[in-house]
């Protein structure tokens, strides 16, 4: 009887403990993390501009409006130029440097590893301001260099052009590639060195070793990097775009989905339309990550 009571109170104490450790975090997370996400999806089905009076359910009308909005295809195009440009740039650079720093016994490899990550600890705002200066038509680095080399004044407006979205690729790559370099290095270092030793004895060239050992065995890290690039770009390209080209450049030349969402909601007060763009971002991120995951799995089988 007494024992059962004690066991009961011990169980009670345990449950109180568990709850007291879970609930504060969970409450904050539900209220400020989860609720806004679902409310965002919910809002996308309404016609709502901030006030509580006009709160009409309109079904998928916001999405229909998107179909007729000329800017939307441009934002999607721009986002995918950034996504695929970054995937190519990031992966070429990081695989090359990771191999160089692990398989080639290069002097100062620790130094390089430390240095290469520096841009990743800077705010994207700082990166954007720096690169905006690089591209500045009159006093910027790039045009000054071109003028100095050619001897003629060159004042091309890199950020005021129809194709300025491509000018945002170098800063995006510069700012982020340190992460995938570190990731690839960790992946390659995890490959058992006996494999390379055996290949060395068989007389396999460095290139063959790369193709048959390094690439297939660090494929997980390549996949992780690619998916990371997709997710951070589709939801984060907003920052570099607004810092470097303010409201999306000339005639929305650099507008991305995130910046267009922000403009619609917080500049034009079209909050439900903005929410619908948020849903679009979610759907496209989902489709893209799933598709890339599938694609890279198949290639994985072919490689090994």
């Amino acid at each position: 009887m007494n024992n059962a009571k004690r066991a009961g109170s011990a169980r009670m104490k345990r449950n109180v403990f568990i709850l007291s450790f879970i609930l504060p975090t969970l409450l904050l997370y539900l209220v400020f993390g989860i609720y806004p996400l679902f409310k965002g999806i919910y809002l996308s089905l309404f016609d709502w501009s901030g006030g509580s009076e006009t709160y009409n359910f309109i079904g998928l009308d916001n999405f229909k409006e998107m179909m007729n909005d000329d800017v939307i295809p441009k934002t999607i195009r721009n986002d995918y130029i950034l996504v695929f440009g970054k995937i190519i740039g990031f992966m070429l650079i990081s695989v090359f440097f990771a191999v160089a720093l692990t398989r080639f016994n290069i002097k100062g490899s620790g130094f390089y590893r430390t240095i290469f990550f520096i841009p990743n600890v800077l705010s994207v705002v700082v990166v954007g301001v720096l690169w905006r200066y690089v591209y500045n038509p009159n006093v910027g680095f790039l045009n000054s260099a071109i003028s100095a080399i050619t001897g003629k004044t060159y004042d091309f407006a890199w950020l005021g052009d129809k194709w300025s979205i491509f000018a945002l690729l170098p800063p995006s790559i510069w700012a982020g590639v340190g992460f995938t370099i570190i990731l690839m290095i960790a992946g390659i270092l995890a490959i058992p060195s006996s494999l390379y030793e055996a290949a060395e004895i068989d007389g396999a060239s460095q290139w063959r070793q790369f193709r048959l050992i390094t690439l297939p065995l660090s494929w997980e890290q390549i996949k992780t990097s690619v998916l990371w690039i997709v997710m951070t770009t589709l939801s984060g390209s907003f920052v570099i775009v607004t810092i470097m080209t303010f409201e999306g450049g000339v005639d929305n030349a650099t507008q991305v989905m995130g910046s267009y969402l922000y403009m619609n909601a917080f500049k034009f007060g079209k909050f439900s339309y903005g929410s619908a763009i948020g849903v679009l971002i979610l759907i496209l991120s989902f489709i893209t990550t799933v598709a890339l995951q599938k694609l890279m799995n198949r290639e994985n089988i072919e490689l090994t």
Partner: protein, 282 residues
């Protein structure tokens, strides 16, 4: 013989591209420092790569610190970063501990719901979050940013700390129970100190993320006295369209860069190690 020359050729290519990339990373940082010491005529008449003329314009720093209120923004950013990092560490360590060490219904669901939050673009909830914060009188207040930064820091921290707590031997709790320690005592006096390395690396990453964060700070704060450094820099730059003060702008960049670079130099191994920890295992 032929292969040997080819090999050293690729070595040479690698060494020179490594060197060039390192230069491309370091030069902008050094260049920012040099440019922060120039005045406007040097920007307009000289080449961007020229060294600053003597005397150096040290007054650019006091100018942004006082006239542009960066001293004030620095304090805002510092308080918000420290408080949210500590709160985030506490809230994630407690949750991670029970998930890792106690069997209870819904523990898996809890864990995976935190994990999946990392995959969802926070942008999706930005609009409702703004109205929620506004209803709660949390816009234009440091507390609002502290709450949202704490919440966004939790998922990654839970993910990493669950791993750390799981590695601790079972005997620790058993002997603590025999000694009559309560659940709370066991956690705070025995288990928490043992995952200190995990807590430290998670907190370092949180500090960097929050110090650099722009989107939430932009949406949730409109009152200029409540700006964080990234928002203040963005505002200052957009004013540059009408009034050019290049030297002070780069001095302002240094207010943001200086502390993180120092931080990175101190915690370099922890930062790169902690960031890849999850990704390489997964």
């Amino acid at each position: 013989m032929k292969r040997r020359t080819k090999f050293s050729g690729s070595r040479w290519l690698m060494q020179s591209s490594l060197f060039l990339w390192a230069l491309g990373v370091l030069y902008p940082v050094v260049w920012t420092v040099l440019s922060a010491l120039k005045d406007n005529p040097q920007f307009l008449l000289g080449r961007p790569w020229n060294l600053p003329d003597l005397p150096l314009i040290w007054s650019n720093f006091s100018y942004v610190w006082e006239k542009y209120s960066f001293g004030h923004y620095f304090v805002n950013s510092l308080i918000i970063t420290i408080v949210s990092t500590l709160l985030g560490a506490l809230l994630s360590a407690t949750t991670a501990y029970v998930i890792a060490r106690y069997a209870f219904r819904g523990s898996g669901l809890l864990y995976y719901s935190y994990l999946s939050y990392m995959m969802i673009p926070a942008f999706l909830g930005m609009i409702p979050l703004f109205f929620l914060m506004d209803d709660l009188y949390l816009t234009n207040r440091a507390l609002g940013l502290i709450i949202i930064y704490t919440v966004t820091a939790v998922p990654f921290a839970v993910f990493v700390l669950v791993g750390f707590f799981k590695q601790l031997p079972k005997e620790l709790e058993e002997s603590a129970a025999i000694d009559g320690a309560s659940h709370y005592g066991t956690f705070f006096r025995i288990m928490l100190p043992l995952v200190k390395p995990g807590l430290v690396s998670v907190s370092i990453i949180t500090v960097l993320n929050i110090w650099n964060e722009y989107i939430f700070a932009l949406v949730l704060v409109n009152d200029p006295t409540k700006y964080t450094i990234p928002v203040a820099i963005a505002v200052m730059q957009s004013e540059m369209q009408y009034r050019t003060e290049w030297g002070p702008l780069f001095a302002a960049l240094l207010v943001s860069m200086g502390p993180v670079l120092l931080f990175y130099m101190i915690f370099q191994r922890k930062i790169t190690g902690g960031i890849t920890a999850g990704a390489v295992k997964g």
